[in-house]
Symmetry: none
Subunit: 210 residues, 4 copies
């Protein structure tokens, strides 16, 4: 087992650097973030960061990618909940809506979105990667569920992808307004209220019994 500690150590160091990088990039932005600072936050020497990730730009890409993968997983897990079943559609949508909002409003999510917005000019490819690999897939997954609910007669959506976008918009739009780009943490109760209002509007528009 003597080597395990070291092997772990190496992996842990990689991860520690990635975590530190996210923290620092999120706090200071790409350009302002110092590699020294990241190294210090990770508890390693600056040169170690370089030996692991090559240069600042690569480190940034990997940091953002890892963060996006994580966000994707969280969001998909929530959407999965939207099974066709649910005796009470409204309650189910409200729960899913709330959970989506919680993901959306998590500190890490805001940090990631701010980072993307900030560095779109310098790293245009990151946006594509993340949209195609994460955001769009969540929307598609959501559209799938809405389509099934339409087929099963619980909803009436002519264009499920549009409906999914609008559902998400009804959630995120009002939440955006309160969150001030993530600088204010919105209480869960408020998120819940936003979700209920969103579902209410959504069902008025797309509910089967309209």
């Amino acid at each position: 087992m003597s080597g395990t500690g070291t092997a772990r150590g190496r992996i842990d160091k990689r991860q520690a650097i990635l975590d530190a990088a996210f923290t620092v990039f999120a706090r200071e932005g790409y350009a302002q973030a110092g590699v020294d600072v990241i190294a210090a936050e990770a508890g390693v020497a600056k040169a170690t960061v370089y030996s692991h990730y090559g240069d600042k730009e690569s480190l940034f890409r990997e940091t953002v990618s890892a963060s996006a993968d994580r966000a994707l997983a969280e969001n998909l897990a929530v959407v999965e909940r939207l099974t066709g079943a649910g005796e009470d559609l409204r309650a189910t949508l409200e729960t899913v809506g709330s959970k989506l909002l919680e993901c959306y409003c998590a500190d890490r999510s805001w940090a990631l979105r701010r980072l993307l917005a900030a560095e779109t000019g310098q790293f245009p490819d990151l946006l594509d990667v993340i949209h195609t690999r994460a955001a769009d897939r969540v929307a598609e997954a959501l559209a799938d569920r809405l389509a099934r609910l339409t087929v099963s007669g619980h909803l009436r959506t002519a264009d499920p992808l549009l409906a999914a976008d609008q559902f998400f918009a009804l959630l995120s739009g009002p939440a955006d307004k309160r969150a001030r780009l993530g600088t204010r943490r919105t209480p869960d109760a408020e998120l819940r209220a936003i979700a209920e209002a969103a579902v209410d509007t959504f069902l008025k528009a797309f509910g089967a019994q309209g």
Copy 2:
């Protein structure tokens, strides 16, 4: 009128610097933007930028403020159009929605939003200023109009401000998805389609004849 050329010159220089600053900040971000580059873009010497605006930070603040003021004015002008009249409410909403989306998707608007997102950490006060001075006022103005339309029996909104937020969300949310943080210009026709879909959903939920 003697001396007008020169007097204008001073003012023009201030304005040229501000325009150049917006261009460069928008393209490169606050930290990456070089004052040299801004000066060159404005056609003045670096020191002139400093003599006018003191330091880079102040220049940034003034640039952002001016840009926000301009955006506010444009948005309010659009909302004004939503007069209670309109024989055809749907058509009116669609027009207003389209125009709002055009403002929202203008290059300058995206640039401003990206800049705000990017620099929220370094300039937290800018967000407050802009939200209270611009964004919230547009929402309030929109809510006012919706309230009047409710009073006049054209709409049924229990909470006009919420309805306004949702209306705006139904517009901006789907547009966001296509615009990729402003890196893709969405054709006006597509914006129009988004607006029509938004109005459709909105009227299903809040229309008087529902």
Copy 3:
């Protein structure tokens, strides 16, 4: 008399600039002193300073020269007092010594000496000018008086210039130590004590009745 005010004005302005320059140069040193600051202190525009004195270096030279001339005049006036007469030689020497020390320890004198020390490297000629035009002439004048006192039998100085230098050294050396390069103002009483001690030693060495 209408023109007088203006003519005065011009001269006053030159003088105001010179005074301001001395103040600022003395406070901040040549390199650190900003022409803006001097102009502000003088209550004129920066360009006015240039139109009067050409450039910073010339202004510095004139400032230092003027200050040195003034110091020379003050010192010579004191040495004049050392008339051959004086029933009480000791008392006369003590008075002259005190007065010399007061000149020596005046704020302006210290400021001038600090300035000279500071800028000797950049303005080597200033030193020569001042030494030959001021310091040496004071020493010579003092030596003259001591020579006369020797001829009249009041003193025994083999080399009056050496005696003058030593007399001055006995005054300024101990004062230097207390003044900390002019950062501490030494009370007149203390200066008097230094002068008395200096005269005491001087008379023991050069007094006629030894």
Copy 4:
């Protein structure tokens, strides 16, 4: 001994920077001295200067402190020579006086004094440090010796510290006059003459057989 070259290298670099800094500060003054120039003189990169000393001000302080420590050591070593013994007091005093003058007139000493005079306004604390840590201690040491010589009957000094100050003044005062703030190197022979004259006057005033 492996690695000595490198380990030495680091220390040597620190020292090389300090030496270069003294040279350049002495030649150009604090404000005019460019860190580039210091770095070039030391044969290192500008950033290396910063990584060792933080900023220009700290570098200046350390440079001056080091120089003052060195001057103190040299002066004390000379004063030590003034042992009570000495069959020939006059010769001993002349030797000590000469040596003190040589220290006093060394290029480094003048440079240090000019630097202190120049930057007293910006760095008032340096003066205090140097006076209490160096100059005063030399004076005290000298006073100690004179006191012993008084006790042993070789001198008559009522106030040994005053006598020490006057002794030093008789040396440095006339030397000051010739050295023109260190811009002229005074030949040792002349210094010797000054010392002899100083001792002559001093012994007339304080000699035991007077």
